[in-house]
Symmetry: C2
Subunit: 185 residues, 2 copies
């Protein structure tokens, strides 16, 4: 009778480097900015070789997306009313973008995606879609409305980050919430 978990495959087992690489990615991006956070530097910060990074992730974009997925986690969808849910979600993503390294990495990979259709596909599918689906479910809004919601919320936060290098201040996040909510009443 075959065991439920197949026997470990032969050969040297892979080292568990994901957590270390994610941490190294964020700290390197925070310290040097997105463009100068090269894969080589990230690998060095994680204490592994560059080739090992490329054995796990096919491209820098894939690595950053995975790192962001790890850093963001699932959207909190607390709140009984749709207004509460949307407000919670906006404050949550604003706070995440404000975390050290996260906003830079997000804006950077988004930037790269503009002129790289393959990366755009990765970003839309692996990053945006899960949040879009969760929001569609929680809000009961059609896809195009949720996409519009994401465009406005995320776009505004990233534009501020990109233009000033600093995340949006709390007062402006509150204003953003107050601007968006009535449009979905």
């Amino acid at each position: 009778m075959a065991p439920a978990t197949s026997a470990r495959p032969p050969g040297r087992p892979r080292a568990g480097v994901h957590a270390a690489v994610f941490a190294a990615t964020l700290s390197t991006v925070q310290e040097l900015g997105y463009a100068r956070a090269t894969v080589e530097r990230i690998a060095a910060a994680a204490g592994i070789a560059k080739t090992t990074v490329y054995r796990r992730w096919p491209s820098k974009g894939d690595l950053i997306v995975d790192c962001l997925l790890d850093a963001f986690g699932p959207v909190p969808l607390e709140g009984r009313s749709r207004a509460e849910i949307m407000s919670t979600a906006i404050h949550w993503i604003a706070a995440k973008i404000g975390e050290p390294g996260v906003g830079d990495a997000f804006a950077g990979v988004f930037s790269d995606a503009v002129s790289d259709p393959a990366l755009r596909e990765i970003l839309a599918t692996r990053f945006q879609d899960p949040y879009r689906l969760a929001l569609q479910d929680a809000l009961g809004e059609p896809e195009n409305r949720v996409l519009f919601f994401i465009d406005v919320a995320v776009g505004s936060l990233l534009h501020r980050m990109g233009m000033t290098g600093e995340p949006m201040a709390d007062a402006d996040v509150v204003a953003l919430v107050e601007m968006i909510l009535p449009a979905f009443r």
Copy 2:
């Protein structure tokens, strides 16, 4: 008596290449996307040498910003009410971003600016500030409110462009206007 216009300086006069380079920039970006629209390709499309481009513009970012300034021109600030002015401005920038090559170039240079403080300074000073000042004057709003307005309008449009590769559809631009206007009532 010295002439009002100083005599032409000695030596071979500079060729007037700005118009040709701007046209070549937009068409090349439209055809190949921002990242593959290299300075060398743009120069070739304009029928000049790469070195001549770098004699006019110190970096690719400077070139793109100049090209965008040329493509955008001044904001139309028509309308008697502030609501009319803001609505006109949003539709105007949405239309500009929808023009072939313009949206790609805008999103691309914005992307590069994320991890390049020097380029970010250029973008904020030479591109955003003139429009910000004109809007402050026309709307009678303080700087931080106009910056917030720009973040929401431009950020939403660029996020849509970056995520889908297509400019925002008219219906969504209308929704954007209807979302923003009440917040500035």
